[in-house]
Symmetry: C2
Subunit: 222 residues, 2 copies
């Protein structure tokens, strides 16, 4: 709209993710700059955490000043890290995708392959169903800035692939489903479960439906 949106050259590099509480989480742009100062990184994380819970509770339109306060940070700091609301939304999305994808490897270790897959699908959809309006905003951004999503898309595909192949190898699901098939189905459920008639329960049923489809015709039925 008429808002200025100056989008200064702003390019928060961080890209230093060696020992990892949070993996990478690279904001857009810049490579090779010096690493972020410790306090900056701390604040950035605090803002993301506060934003995630604010979005979940009050939707993506939550006042940015509330988020800053909740993070124990000035509004200026929030704006320095995320010059626009969209960048903040994307930051939250990116971090949660990373967590979700990491959980895939843990699940594979802890559970039987098919259960791991099902649980992962549930978590995936739950993320979306929990954040009111977030999916809608992401969908809009996706149409505009496809490039931003390239990295997360690959991550998701790899995680899906891991779970699918291990379940297929165990014969617990059919083996003719690709990671793309799976992510597309789940993505569809996420889109569908966004919006005013918002219901995690419905989303869960849809996930189970897709999962049954995966089991259909599997060698080792149970």
């Amino acid at each position: 709209m008429v808002r200025s949106t100056t989008t200064a050259e702003q390019s928060q590099a961080d890209q230093q993710s060696v020992e990892g509480q949070q993996p990478v989480v690279t904001p857009v742009g810049a490579e090779g700059c010096r690493p972020m100062r410790a306090d900056a990184r701390r604040n950035r994380e605090a803002v993301l955490t506060a934003a995630a819970s604010a979005f979940a509770e009050n939707g993506v339109e939550s006042p940015l000043e509330d988020i800053a306060r909740q993070a124990g940070v000035g509004i200026g700091t929030l704006y320095r890290h995320f010059p626009t609301r969209e960048e903040l939304v994307f930051g939250v999305y990116q971090r949660e995708v990373a967590q979700l994808c990491e959980s895939a490897t843990a699940l594979v270790d802890e559970l039987p392959p098919a259960e791991a897959l099902q649980e992962w699908m549930r978590r995936f959809v739950l993320y979306a169903a929990t954040k009111r309006g977030l999916v809608g905003m992401l969908r809009t951004m996706m149409a505009d800035r496809t490039d931003l999503f390239a990295e997360t898309r690959v991550r998701i595909r790899d995680a899906a692939n891991l779970l699918l192949t291990s379940a297929a190898a165990a014969g617990e699901i059919r083996d003719d489903i690709t990671a793309e098939d799976l992510t597309r189905s789940i993505g569809g459920i996420c889109m569908a479960s966004d919006g005013p008639v918002w219901s995690p329960a419905n989303a869960g049923r849809l996930v189970d439906l897709v999962f049954d489809g995966l089991r259909f015709g599997a060698p080792n039925k149970r």
Copy 2:
């Protein structure tokens, strides 16, 4: 196609004067009451006109105060007629649907049946492609307040039916397509052509594609 709104206005007035069944067109609250005062009706129309052009130009987030100013009306007046932005959006939508549906009968008279149908489809999609973000907002509202859209849905279906049957009767298109099929296809195009990558040209190509589908297998090919 610049058409005056007088006919639409007239028909609304007619409907209102018939007792019973208030069409949803009446402003909120007025329940079986006397008709609107002349100045109120005038202002209401002015606001709708200004809103339509503001939405087209700056998107559905246009400041309401600009719209009021453009309409030559105080902000209080705008709020009295449309207490929320959504109601204003719906008002614009409703009026334009009415115009569009009326144009169907005119088109049937003026053009060969198939051309009339194609032209109508084009106009339909053009409306949507012209208003940035409007379709998205309507989609959200639809999920929430299905009841509001019942009337417009019927209108659209009737108009589509008129065009379809006359073109099918002339053998210029196949006869196994229902009005629901058509409106669903067109609706899909409208959804697709909303969003940041906004392009009437693309929408037009999609319409032609659907139209070719309608001609496929028609008795009288040309």
